[in-house]
Amino acid sequence: MADPMRIRAAEKDGIVDVKVLMKHDMESGQRKDAAGATIPAFFIQTVIAQVKGKTVFTAEFGPAVSKDPFLNFKFKGAAKGDEIVVDWVDNSGDKRSDKAKIS
């Protein structure tokens, strides 16, 4: 699996605020290396956040998302102590899954 992501999830007044920082080069496929060859596109494509098996948020990224993608979203319906699981898959098929307790 790739490098871990950092997840912070905090519940307040029924709304869970989630911040995720993923580790990924997110190559756009636009850059050329020193030899002039195009560096191929390499980027996270889908990100899915789930709590108790239910999807609470989905993101589809293109190569224009910045390196080490940051994502902040909010949702209702979970409580402190529940676990949120975030999965991502990139265009090479590599994936990463991490979880955090909602504080």
Binding site: K32, G53, V56, F73, D87, V89
Partner: protein, 150 residues
């Protein structure tokens, strides 16, 4: 012919079963909208997302700087009072317009923030789908240093 049908049915139901039991993650089973991410302009992207002409909405708030010092990392946030089921961020002057899109299931707040690369100063559009209709808000972001390594 019967055998072929049987195999197709078997394969699709196995994948569905695998996804539901978590053997392959939902992320892998999810479709990444390739056509939308290859769209070269707003109309192409909208078409690929099954959308029609969006209505400008004052209810979409875009949180982004007027001037981004580093085009490689431009924070863009979108939030709205509309009952959004989908939000998309497009950078008009980027080679592929669609930077990212977000699907909001029931319970998700219409609020998202991420960071995008901008090749040059450009209009950034926030598209919101609510109640089956599409809405749009636009903000111009000036970039002092382009974000695609050029």
């Amino acid at each position: 012919m019967n055998n072929q049908r049987r195999n197709v049915l078997r394969l699709t139901s196995v994948i569905a079963l695998m996804a539901s039991t978590g053997l392959i993650t939902s992320a892998q089973a999810a479709e990444w909208n390739k056509a939308a991410f290859e769209g070269k302009n707003l109309d192409d992207v909208l078409k690929a997302m099954g959308g029609t002409k969006p209505e400008t909405s004052a209810d979409i708030i875009m949180r982004a700087p007027d001037i981004a010092e580093n085009g490689a990392v431009v924070p863009v946030g979108v939030e709205t009072k509309l009952k959004a089921t989908q939000i998309a961020i497009l950078v008009e002057k980027n080679p592929s317009n669609l930077a990212a899109q977000f699907m909001l299931p029931a319970g998700a707040e219409a609020f998202v923030t991420t960071r995008v690369k901008m090749g040059q100063s450009s209009n950034v559009h926030a598209l919101v789908k609510a109640d089956g209709k599409w809405y749009i808000a636009t903000k111009e972001i000036k970039v002092t240093l382009g974000g695609c390594g050029g």
